[in-house]
């Protein structure tokens, strides 16, 4: 008896197509912030010099990208110094420079060591709450 392979039938092709359509879960914040200084929505009497984020994962720090926006103004890129690479693997320290009063929105994008990319946001107010 011959055992020549038949061409893949309709069901097999459909299964392949269906698996392509069955898109797994859209990204979630895989690496989440466990602790931050200042905390989200903090109202501070004086401007912080640094923002510190502690994650639940080891972070590939050289890929960290941070922007800071005052109120409705355009966001400005903030450099995360390479020296921070020597600190704890789950912490990122971001120098802010001198900030005036206002509501600030800091957005970050980090790469976890396991290859997952996460975006997040930290909002804080300098000066009296509005």
């Amino acid at each position: 008896m011959a055992f020549a392979l038949r061409p893949a039938g309709t069901p097999v092709l459909l299964l392949a197509a269906c698996l392509t359509l069955a898109a797994p879960r859209a990204t979630s914040p895989h690496a989440i912030v466990l602790e931050s200084s200042p905390i989200h929505d903090a109202v501070l009497a004086s401007a912080p010099e640094l923002v510190t984020l502690r994650f639940n994962s080891r972070i590939e720090k050289r890929f960290t990208r941070v922007t800071l926006a005052l109120a409705d103004q355009a966001p400005v890129a903030v450099a995360v110094p390479a020296a921070d690479a020597d600190a704890a693997p789950d912490r990122i320290t971001i120098p802010l420079g001198s900030l005036g009063p206002g509501v600030y929105v800091l957005r970050y994008r980090v790469l976890a060591v396991d290859g997952h990319i996460t975006e997040g946001v930290l909002r804080f107010t300098v000066g009296p709450a509005r």
Binding site: A2, F3, A22, A26, T27, S28, P29
Partner: protein, 537 residues
């Protein structure tokens, strides 16, 4: 951009694991299940040839998926403000190097499989070494590598857990190919060897499942932490979903095992039933691998403390309530809704009301179709066989009401809104629903009689169920979003059970079709009921 990259990341990780299952699981299958006895006939030779082809294909799939991740998805998602992709820097990270390692090993395994086909000396030993290295390499691509504590034990536990899944699901994939060949060869009457192959696979599958479960329990304790994390976080609910899928697969495996124990006297029955059970089990296994890939994108429950829901809050989402009979106007919704690209914005009450109305209307369609399908099962209401036409109404409703900010109701154009994973997933779902309607109505009205055509409905249902299990709006771990999504898991699970129930109804001998027929129809009605009581606030 990060959202879409995350979507592709999980998809490619899932396909990579399926490829690994076909390749490495195939090596185990070839050595332990498909051993050629002295004087083996053409069936074993053909089956071994097919297995080697599938091993090579699996290895190429694993390599291809990883290459796309490394060269395209991640560098694109990590692009700098200038638009430059940091490809070289990314490839020198631990993840990049481990990924390159997988690519090289998988390509080498594909070459070794080709060598095996030619009967080269030492090809088998080389292939086994490559398989072992591929599994070990997986430790550096898993979530465990990023953990701060117990990193080593978690990496080892993950590899053992994955090895069990690869042996089990990969073996099943190969067994489907074997069962088809066996049946074509005349079944047990012509080739009694097939019974021994099935029996040997049962032993290998049990060993694989032990490897899945034992390290899996350790990983669950480490990542979930306790009962609160199991029911109150997205990660915990996905773990429960995986356990439920595994339970369903075990039921099918147990049924196969029991018919095999009947021995030679029931050989005809085995040949008639075993392939159907194996096919359904492989479907559940593939869904499990995709769900596992999806799980890795979620933060472990032990890390989600402030945003954890209580069991009472979760139970409240399933408490029956009157469905919404009206929806907020589009204008009112657009006035309060955040821009589509603001993925971090909080959803407003009007958005919840809009979504609840959508789910309740969808529930009306699905529940009605489920009841009609149950009526059809009784054989006393022939007119009820036209129930698939209800899917057309559902598809139209879903397409129009997908997202009020996107075409045709909102300002964002059709293509502009396609880059958002949520919108893209909903539109893919509309295509699936239309296909469900067309194919199943053609089958039930007698217009489509080809065997392959009858299987379209269960395959699409399996895809829909998997999509629902792995579908998420952004920020799943936040408590409110988790509570919004929590009913999707049981609906996805029911969708997958419905799919493989219908598959069994089609593939089993006529005398065995009654129970799976009732099960899938009941699952559809239950999905409709869950949708009717769905709530987000």
């Amino acid at each position: 951009m990060t959202l879409l990259a995350g979507f592709l990341d999980v998809l490619l990780r899932g396909f990579g694991t399926i490829g690994l299952a076909a390749a490495v699981g195939g090596l185990v299958y070839l050595r332990l299940v498909l051993r050629p006895p002295p004087g083996a006939g053409g069936l074993v030779a053909a089956a071994r040839g097919r297995a080697v082809t599938l091993i090579a294909a699996g290895a190429l799939l694993a390599a291809g998926a990883e290459l796309l991740l490394l060269l395209l998805v991640h560098p694109w998602a990590l692009a700098e403000e200038s638009g430059r992709w940091p490809l070289r820097e990314f490839l020198t990270t631990g993840f990049g190097l481990a990924g390159l390692g997988r690519v090289v090993l998988a390509l080498a395994l594909a070459a070794a499989a080709r060598w095996m086909r030619r009967g080269g000396d030492g090809a088998w030993a080389v292939a086994v070494c490559l398989g072992v290295l591929l599994m070990a390499n997986a430790a550096w691509l898993a979530h465990a590598v990023s953990r701060l504590h117990d990193r080593g034990p978690l990496m080892v536990g993950t590899v053992l857990h994955q090895l069990g899944a690869v042996v089990w699901v990969g073996g099943l994939l190969h067994l489907v190919g074997f069962a088809l060949l066996w049946r074509r060869a005349g079944g047990p009457a012509a080739e009694p060897l097939g019974l021994h192959v099935l029996a040997r696979f049962s032993a290998v599958a049990i060993a694989g499942l032990v490897l899945v479960v034992v390290p899996g329990i350790y990983l669950a304790f480490s990542y979930v932490g306790g009962w609160g994390g199991l029911v109150g976080t997205g990660y915990g609910v996905m773990v429960l979903t995986k356990v439920a899928l595994l339970g369903c697969a075990l039921v099918l495996g147990g049924l196969n095992f029991s018919i095999l124990r009947r021995g030679e006297s029931g050989a005809g029955a085995i040949a008639a039933r075993a392939p159907a059970f194996i096919e359904a089990e492989v479907g559940l296994g593939l869904t499990l691998l995709l769900a596992a890939a999806s799980l890795t994108s979620l933060p472990p429950s032990v890390d989600v403390v402030a945003d954890r829901a209580t069991p009472a809050e979760v139970a409240a989402r399933f408490r029956p309530a009157m469905p919404r009979l009206s929806s907020p106007p589009v204008g009112q919704l657009l006035a309060v809704a955040a821009p589509m690209d603001d993925t971090l914005a909080k959803r407003q009450p009007e958005e919840y009301a809009w979504s609840e109305y959508n789910h309740h209307a969808a529930g009306f369609f699905v529940f009605t179709m489920g009841v009609l399908a149950l009526l059809d099962q009784t054989g006393r209401a022939r007119w009820a066989r036209h129930w698939p036409l209800g899917f057309l109404g559902l598809a139209t409703f879903m397409f129009v009401r997908n997202d009020p900010r996107a075409w045709p109701l909102g300002p964002a154009g059709f293509w502009e809104s396609m880059v958002l994973p949520d919108v893209l997933q909903h539109r893919l779902a509309v295509v699936l629903v239309v296909a469900l309607a067309v194919f199943e109505w053609l089958v039930r009205s007698g217009r489509l009689t080809r065997p392959g055509g009858r299987l379209v409905f269960p395959l699409l249902c399996a895809s829909g169920g998997t999509m629902l299990l792995t579908h998420s709006h952004a920020m799943f771990n936040l408590k409110t979003e988790f509570l919004t999504e929590v009913s999707h898991a049981p609906m996805g699970l029911l969708g997958v059970v419905m799919a493989w129930g219908r598959w069994l109804e089609i593939r089993l001998p006529a005398a065995d079709r009654r129970i799976p027929g009732w099960i899938w129809a009941a699952c559809m009605a239950t999905i409709g009921l869950i949708l009717l009581v769905y709530r987000e606030s």
